[in-house]
Symmetry: C2
């Protein structure tokens, strides 16, 4: 049984490979050859004032690669106000660190094959998913990027778009000047690209071919007035846009309608602090979900993509799938075998001699 | 992070302690102070002829003891016929072993505290649960036991009834003579009790105060005609009795109505070999579930128990709860701290420095 760190996982995954393995997975998903398991969210009191305990898990089986994945998050969650907007902040109470884990099992033998923290894989799967959407939706000559956000996820979004389009020019915006300047400086060094920080979101998205939004915002960051013909918009979460914005796009693809988040399973006594803005257009009754296509159907050719160079397209990575970790996990295992990283623990520790 | 074996777990748990900690848990569950998470069953092809892959998980949070438990089963499942009855047999393809794991997390810090195989804990939680039912339902002077079954679970059922009643005499029956003889011999040595093997199930349950059924049978093993006034019947699974049998009992308590098994989540291509007898009275529409009380409500005094010495009572351990592993797990952790068993792994391996 292999235990890996985020640093190991980063060494084992390239964005190109992540995009390729997810593409293979989505083809299988579209054809009913991969299985998503329902997501479960348990919330309970945690003994910390103004915080609650959240235990979330989701998984998926991908028989082609013989992997069952389970991703577990075990968090102490708070909702501090920041400039009047309530955010969702997890407290690092595990010795100053957080707890998110991916576990991979063999569908051939049942064995637990690996455990690793979810961070690096999570970031790359989000990047690769939005990158796949760019690959299938943006104009083939799209070369100018407006990146909203300068955090950890923004870096993966940039890597993803660089992997699938001949990017010539990038603008980046985020509210704090130091952050966006630092992001631009680092990205220039790392990728050798033409990138500059700009002062407003609007300036960031003017005269670009692709808007990559990569924020943790709980309120919309993009306005319909900013859309120009032929642009492709990429969001990493539903809250970054609203129903009106989506209505201004000609074609909207969602990551998946398969795995809506289930109702939270909440223990009485859990502090009633979950912000109402966690509700929105995406879980309103009667919202026009049926109009949107799943990314897997687009990739499998079951749904049409961009029809012409003037169409405004939008991809919303509305929810993650535990199944994505089966794909990224298969890749990690394959590459770990070649590079010999991580800690190998005896298989017998995680098996038993009695019929369970 | 503590890794324990089944042998470690057996050393750390006594039946008395298991019964006590589950009693504490059920009191909290009845008062809405413990949370069950939904059970998920994923079935998919596994590449072995006549078998399929089953990934099952269920959990629960128990804030009083600051534990979130998750129990995972990752199995290659077959349904071989045995004397015309289809059974459910898991293949030990993980190096000749099986894969069932319990993971414990802290609801205070989020940390993964321990991983151990589920076997020893599973057996003791089933025994302790039925033992608790005996404690609350059997006549206080009940002293004669008829034990149906001589397998691994039967041993725990015997330990449990010995823990809660002044047992004087035990009869044991199972179809194979060598098995029941060996069981009687070993139990006599281990517990110093008066126990003898008998040739039929009917003989086993005649003139006893308590019937403990502990079989893996997929068809009923007990007949209503065998019931005598004042007897208590204990079953470890629903299939051991049928609706007619339950109708002949004056009072029936179920382990729980909370966590009915969810619908299986089945990937197309999974061999269609799941036997129809996995359906039965317990999942028929219109079955009189509402008439039955949950064990937790009985323990919390929210539902009446035995009313007199002639009443025939029956407890059916209809389904397990992931939450039980939080209780047994809390005990395991507490005792492991005192006895220094298992392998301690660095906490940093199972935490991360990035906000997930």
């Amino acid at each position: 049984m292999l235990v890996l760190s985020n640093e190991d996982v980063e060494k084992l995954l390239t964005m190109d490979e992540c995009i390729a393995v997810l593409e293979e997975l989505y083809l299988d998903l579209a054809e009913g050859r991969a299985l998503c398991s329902p997501r479960v969210d348990n919330l309970a009191p945690c003994g910390v004032d103004g915080a609650y305990y959240g235990f979330k898990h989701m998984g998926g089986a991908w028989p082609r690669r013989k992997i069952q994945a389970l991703r577990i998050n075990s968090d102490i969650i708070t909702h501090p106000a920041h400039e009047k907007k309530l955010r969702r902040v997890k407290l690092p109470l595990a010795g100053g660190r957080w707890v998110g884990l991916v576990e991979l099992f063999s569908t051939e033998t049942g064995e637990l094959l690996a455990i690793f923290p979810d961070g690096a894989a999570q970031r790359l799967r989000v990047g690769a998913t939005n990158g796949l959407a760019v690959k299938y939706m943006a104009r083939s000559d799209a070369a100018r990027v407006g990146l909203i956000g300068s955090g950890w996820q923004a870096g993966a979004q940039l890597m993803a778009v660089l992997a699938v389009r001949p990017v010539r020019e990038v603008k980046v915006f985020s509210p704090r000047r130091e952050s966006r300047d630092a992001f631009a400086r680092e990205a220039r060094e790392k990728h050798g690209i033409d990138i500059r920080a700009v002062d407003t979101a609007e300036e960031c998205v003017r005269d670009v071919d692709m808007i990559m939004s990569a924020t943790s915002s709980m309120v919309p960051v993009l306005q319909p007035e900013w859309l120009s013909p032929g642009i492709h918009v990429s969001c990493i979460k539903t809250q970054e846009v609203d129903g009106k914005f989506l209505g201004s796009c000609h074609r909207v693809i969602m990551h998946t309608k398969l795995q809506g988040k289930q109702r939270d399973n909440i223990l009485p006594g859990t502090p009633n602090i979950i912000p109402q803005h966690l509700k929105g257009w995406w879980n309103e009754d009667g919202f026009r979900w049926a109009e949107f296509t799943d990314l897997s159907d687009l990739i499998a050719g079951k749904a049409p993509g961009r029809s012409d160079n003037r169409e405004i397209t939008c991809f919303v990575n509305n929810v993650g799938l535990g199944l994505q970790f089966a794909a990224v996990g298969a890749l990690i295992l394959e590459n770990a075998g070649k590079l010999k990283v991580g800690h190998q623990l005896p298989a017998e520790w995680f098996t038993e001699s009695v019929h369970p």
